[in-house]
């Protein structure tokens, strides 16, 4: 039996199929779905985009509890003291460091998107470079926030 022909549409250069076994029969029309995350490559732009979504989802989930804490701190002097006391506990400071880092990253990645919308840095080269920059800045923001809040 001859070896199966190399299929440019579905095979990686090393001959592996990009489609995992259980997905091979699932197509959209004639087009295969490339959903095997182990075989897909994630260029910097994809990682920056996923991190932007993940940080955004985290910030959205944090919005109602944060608004509640904000209102509590303003409701009375006792409420303010209570919120200040929470702010000195380890779990809250940990959550705060995470949210601060997520916010910093989300803002930077968001500025990157807004600049690209008006045509600044939207070439492939510049996009890859700026994706690396915002990812590195996000990691630095996490270290800085943790160092600041967990002393």
């Amino acid at each position: 039996m001859p070896p199966p022909a190399f299929d440019h549409a579905t095979d990686a250069p090393d001959g592996r199929s990009l489609i995992s076994g259980d997905l091979q029969s699932r197509h959209w029309g004639d087009r295969p779905r490339f959903l095997d995350l182990r075989h897909l490559s994630f260029p910097p732009g994809a990682l920056a985009s996923i991190a932007h979504r993940a940080s955004g989802a985290l910030l959205a989930m944090a919005t109602p509890p944060t608004a509640w804490v904000f209102l509590r701190s303003l409701a009375s002097a006792e409420g303010f003291a209570e919120v200040a006391r929470w702010g000195r506990t380890l779990p809250v400071r940990l959550a705060l460091a995470l949210l601060l880092a997520a916010l910093t990253y989300h803002l930077l990645a968001g500025i990157r998107h807004l600049l690209m919308d008006v045509g600044i840095g939207s070439s492939l080269r510049a996009g890859r470079a700026s994706a690396r920059v915002v990812l590195a800045a996000g990691a630095a923001a996490f270290v800085a926030a943790a160092a600041m809040l967990l002393r």
């Binding site: 979504r53 955004g56 989802a57 109602p64 608004a67 209102l71 303003l74 009375s76 807004l114």
Partner: protein, 110 residues
């Protein structure tokens, strides 16, 4: 859900992003320059007429931005209709309740 979709959602996301960016930077600088050490200082900071207007715009932009962003994510990854509807309903209720609590507190403070 035609209220915030398509081009309008795209525009809302970018306008609210710009507003939020400005507000976050401004508020961070303000908190850094005048850190509130007591309840009275904190209350005065937030009750400042400029802060009052800015906070109103900020929370409106934040809730709209959160809705469009979460909606985009859910529509991309949750394909089973009942689950999608349930998640979107839960998010909408959570964000609207947050907005209502903030609006009530602002009215009460007057």
């Amino acid at each position: 859900m035609k209220l915030l979709s398509g081009l309008r959602a795209w525009v809302v996301q970018r306008v609210s992003a710009t507003l939020l960016l400005g507000f976050v930077l401004w508020f961070a600088v303000w908190l850094f320059l005048v850190p509130p050490d007591s309840y009275d200082q904190w209350r005065a900071l937030v009750a400042h007429p400029t802060a009052e207007i800015a906070l109103t715009i900020f929370f409106a932009a934040l809730l709209a931005h959160a809705w469009v962003g979460v909606r985009d994510i859910v529509l991309d990854y949750v394909h089973w209709r009942p689950l999608r509807a349930a998640i979107l309903l839960g998010v909408a209720v959570g964000l609207l309740a947050t907005g209502a609590a903030l609006a009530l507190a602002a009215l009460h403070a007057r």
